[in-house]
């Protein structure tokens, strides 16, 4: 117990509060009782924490928003002869237990998600009761609970009294040894080949069932008085080494992917990959790299070099937070683009406002703001992958996932040093192409991180920002009159203005907007819009295929193909 207390040490205070142990009523509750109560409570907290950690480790591919994992027995989905206790993990029999008609079962709260790939739970026999007629297994929703698992259609069980397995039938097949008080029985569902095997005290007993249907629930059934069993859905370490079994299947699936035939003519495969890489480079306007790559792989580039360079110039401006210049340049180079696309213009302007607050936009910077260079620290990829943007509504998820991938790919290039000569001028601060970003730089490079001040701290800049805000407000009203309500625009503006409500916007709840990461989606939206006007794809095929692969995997999870568990796209993006 000491260890447990130590582990949750931080939660102690909170626990005290919740459990109601204030100093004034300490004396009313007997100390031993209080201690037991507290310890139980801490135990539960600790268990909960361990459970979540273990489930996350075992089933990383499961999206619990969509398909929650079983964590306990369901008090709603059971026969009346079943009693639950200990956080719905302990099951006991409370019927007469005279005939098989008195059998009773309980299902877990949720079915087993296919994205587990391999799912496992264990049941410890606390007492075999009178006759030990216990069944451990699986059943589909709606299967009669006044029965032991295995007796009915879509129900499967392994019974303790005779060691037989019951596959949707009243008569069992010889399967394994019998089990009784003290034994730990495990049930493993392989959602890749739809089989199931059991374990007894950590030893695999071999396949029991094949051709299992999807969406089965962990189920136990009891039949005579005194029978008590405890479930372990991951609250405790398992007796059987399930992770070792999962390792084997992960290796199998990955070998299957590695060995997947890629067509007979290898040259075609190679040419296709080269095309994808080239189009990706062009899309993100890494013109020198794209040029060099196209040359060495003997390909034609489908966009004029000048056009690529233009886009590159604009992207650099956006990514360095110089929105005013970015908008201006876009208007110069693509005169009709923003005129025709007012929402895009609005978005750019809102971003400009944010950059003003940040003190990075050129308009305020020239009024005494600070150098854009200080904001140049390029975001690291792991953060990007977890950034909250990607958890938008479901219709947007797809899009943002792809943005994700794009950024990731870009970073790859930088870290490989492939494109050091050109496209990442804003990273190195020594651009050979495009406009000179250094023109307005002051000497305040280092001050930025320590003293973050509104609009860089200049009064003139603040005034300009306020004025710009008013213009933005009126543009928003104008847009609403012209084109009706647009909740996205409204929210965008509201969030941006909210920054002014805090003395330190950077550490405020809306401060994330100031993060340079937020420039990424703006940049790629603008880039895509420009490309669209040239009848070029909004997204590079490479990002599209990465996005498609990710989408495929989530589709597999939904349609019950367990192998998606061991084929994360991330694993292949290193």
């Amino acid at each position: 117990m000491y260890q447990v207390l130590k582990e949750v040490g931080l939660d102690l205070e909170r626990a005290n509060q919740i459990a109601g142990f204030h100093t004034n009523n300490k004396q009313k509750i007997g100390v031993p009782f209080a201690a037991v109560f507290l310890i139980n409570f801490l135990d539960v907290c600790y268990q909960e924490k361990e459970l979540n950690q273990r489930l996350k480790r075992l089933y990383p591919a499961v999206n619990e928003q969509e398909t929650p994992l079983p964590r306990s027995w369901s008090p709603k989905d059971k026969f009346s002869y079943i009693g639950l206790s200990q956080n719905n993990l302990r099951v006991h029999y409370k019927g007469h237990g005279k005939t098989p008609k008195d059998a009773a079962s309980v299902r877990a709260t949720h079915p087993i998600p296919a994205a587990c790939g391999v799912y496992y739970f264990e049941v410890k026999i606390i007492s075999k009761g009178r006759d030990g007629y216990m069944g451990i297994g699986l059943s589909a929703q709606g299967v009669n609970m006044n029965r032991l698992p295995g007796w009915d259609k879509h129900s499967y069980g392994y019974h303790g009294d005779d060691g037989h397995s019951f596959c949707s039938s009243g008569t069992g097949q010889p399967y394994g040894p019998t089990f009784t008080t003290g034994d730990v029985i495990g049930c493993c569902v392989n959602l890749i080949n739809n089989t199931c095997f059991y374990t007894k005290n950590g030893h695999s007993l071999g396949i029991a069932f094949t051709d299992l249907p999807p969406n089965l629930y962990p189920t136990v059934g009891l039949q005579t008085p005194g029978e008590v069993v405890d479930a372990n859905f991951g609250q405790h370490p398992f007796v059987f080494d399930i992770e070792d079994y999962m390792r084997e299947w992960r290796t199998k699936i990955q070998a299957q992917i590695d060995r997947f035939p890629i067509g007979e003519r290898e040259g075609e495969w190679q040419a296709m990959i080269q095309k994808m890489v080239a189009s990706y480079l062009v899309h993100h306007s890494y013109c020198a790299t794209a040029e060099a790559f196209a040359k060495s792989t003997d390909q034609a580039v489908h966009e004029e070099l000048a056009s690529i360079k233009n886009r590159q110039k604009i992207q650099k401006l956006v990514l360095s937070g110089r929105m005013g210049e970015a908008i201006e340049t876009t208007q110069q180079l693509y005169p009709s683009l923003l005129e025709r696309n007012q929402d895009l213009l609005f978005m750019l302007k809102v971003r400009q406002f944010i950059e003003m607050v940040n003190g990075t936009d050129s308009e305020v910077r020239c009024l005494g703001g600070r150098s854009p260079k200080s904001q140049d620290s390029y975001p690291g990829s792991p953060r990007l992958f977890n950034s909250p943007v990607h958890k938008a509504s479901s219709s947007q998820t797809y899009q943002t996932e792809q943005n994700n991938a794009e950024v990731e790919m870009e970073l790859d290039h930088f870290s490989n040093g492939v494109s050091e000569s050109s496209s990442n001028g804003f990273l190195n601060g020594s651009s050979t192409h495009g406009i000179d970003l250094e023109e307005c730089d002051g000497d305040m490079v280092d001050s930025a991180q320590s003293k973050r001040q509104l609009c860089g701290g200049s009064q003139a800049a603040i005034e300009r920002m306020i004025q710009f805000g008013r213009e933005l407000q009126s543009m928003s009203e104008h847009l609403r009159r012209e084109r009706g309500k647009n909740s996205a625009n409204k929210k965008m503006l509201k969030d941006a203005f909210s920054l002014l409500a805090y003395s330190d916007p950077w550490s405020s709840p809306v401060g994330y907007q100031l993060d340079s990461i937020q420039r990424e989606p703006v940049c790629s939206t603008l880039n895509s819009a420009i490309l669209e006007t040239h009848n070029l794809p909004k997204q590079p095929p490479l990002a599209l295929s990465v996005g498609q692969a990710a989408q495929c995997l989530s589709l597999m999870a939904r349609t019950g193909s367990g192998s998606c568990a061991f084929a994360s796209v991330d694993d292949y993006l290193h």
């Binding site: 394994g176 095997f197 695999s204 071999g206 390792r247 084997e248 290796t251």
Partner: protein, 674 residues
Amino acid sequence: MMACLLEAPLRISVLSEVTATSRHYVDRLFDPDPQNVLQGVIDMKNAVIGNNKQKANLIVLGAVPRLLYLLQQSSSSLELRTECAVVLGSLAMGTENNIKSLVDCHIIPALLQGLLCSDLIFIEACLRCLRTIFISPVTPVQLLYTDPTVIPHIMSLLSRSQHTQEYITQIFAHCCKTPEHQMVLFNHGAIQNIAPLLISPSYKVRMQALKCFSVLAYENAQVSMTLVNVLVDGEQLSQVFARMMQRDKPIEMQLTAAKCLTYMCRAGAIRTDDNCIILKTLPCLVRMCSKERLLEERVEGAETLAFLMEPDIELQRIASVTDHLVSMLADYFKYPSSVSAITDIKRLDHDLKHAHELRQAAFKLYASLGSNDEDIRKKITETENMMDRIVSGLSESSIKVRLAAVRCLHSLSRSVQQLRTSFHDHAVWKPLMKLLQNAPDEVLVMASSTLCNLLLEFSPSKEPILESGVIELLCSLTQSDSPALRVNGIWALMNMAFQADQKVKVEIVRALGTEQLFRLLSDPDTNVLMKTLGLLRNLLSTRPHIDQIMSSHGKQIMQAVTLILEGEHSIEVKEQTLCILANIADGNTAKELIMTNDDMLQKIKYYMGHSNVKLQLAATFCISNLIWNEEDGSQERQDKLREMGFVDILHKLTQASDPSLCDRAKTAMQQYLA
């Protein structure tokens, strides 16, 4: 040039095949300009790669001695010497005949000598060639141990590079075949030197190091005990091995790591109830038996598993329920499968090659599984066609299969129930008897041991076996040079004589002959002596039989009994002998043989006062039979024995602390009171 031509062996038939180009390569090795020689060797290297015919040609043309000469010459440049070693290594990669020719040219000492050079590249080339030669089955491994300085030097080369590590560990893994080899390597620090290689970044090095440990630890307690205490990077070796058995590791690695742990466990270095055995090694080996594995892996897996659990009933019980092992093994008998015969000749060939190995491995594993637990035996005999498979296994041409089949049968024959049912139903005694006719000793030992069980009194096979003329066969076994066979022969006779008809007993005595019987009573093997006494005791049961046998062989038997009671023998032997005496005392006429022998009576008296209760009990039993009331002449015997002071002793024994001795003495005393 001329010299070279003369040196070439003139074998017409071969010469006709030798092409002019091959000859040209050899000629260049004799060029006076070292630079040309070097270029010649390099060209030769490029020419022989992957070309077995070219390799054979060059060997026939005498390239080997010249290459060896160049390699050993200190005047040769290092580059040349290295290239020579590379070409020789390439030649060794060819057929077994190539290896033989190279070994005949004394390549091994030359290469071992080369290892003394300081240049790493050259050393690696030599080791690589040595490796190729030593892993060939045609190379005598002893050649590695001829020069005692070689092993320590090779050991010191382990630190040089990943390549030296790979080659050296591979050589050790192949050349450690006897306990002597194990000790040589062990004494030169093999364990300390190789253990760190288990975490080498190179898979090949890790794998070969692992193999080294498996051959070093096999049936070697000293090595195994040392291994458990070795730490690799702060981790116990058993943990390192356990990690190598993880299911995502290559099968070869899992299997070899499981072998290491098995050998350490069998050598007593790891307990059988250790988690790394019970939860890791055993399940890993069971997985190796599954249908998904290659045939070779399944054979090795089953054999290793059989070895692991042979002495431990708990492991047998766990294995018997793990992954349907018992029925999984039934699949071992289905090669070549009927499908492979039709569809795929290559597959058929492969299946055929492994069919025997698979069957014998399965029999071995069944034997091990069923050696202690009655439920498991039942499960095995209930496996599809199991008894038929054993019966046909007993008469297979492969001796390995026959041996394994009889081992399996022996293991199952320990079951009373199986003896009564399946053994009789399948008339297993028939092929067993046939097997006993002329088989090598190891098969005979197992078969006769099984026969012992089949001759147990309750076995329904006993009758038909008797009728098949088994007695002569068993008697001949008692004359074998092998103690194990003598024991089994006499043991079987003993079982046969238990509660047997007079006819059978007479037949046994006749066939064995008293001379042989008494020879066995002085056998140096205690087991043989014990079983012979057991046979005598079984022969001397029921009064008429006792009297009949004693009337014809009484003198010799009494002599033998005297000899044993006077000799230096264990308590068990003497107890058995006193029991025989007690049986004799139960006869009607046979009694007199004791009563008239005062010396013998004194001996009985002595043993009644012995410090060992068992001997006291047997001796008292004997006296009790002599003074038994209802028989003729009991009064005279009682009187005589009273005179000799037996009553006093009996009286004393009624106070004995041992309850059964006390009872026995009281019963005897009652004979006087009646």
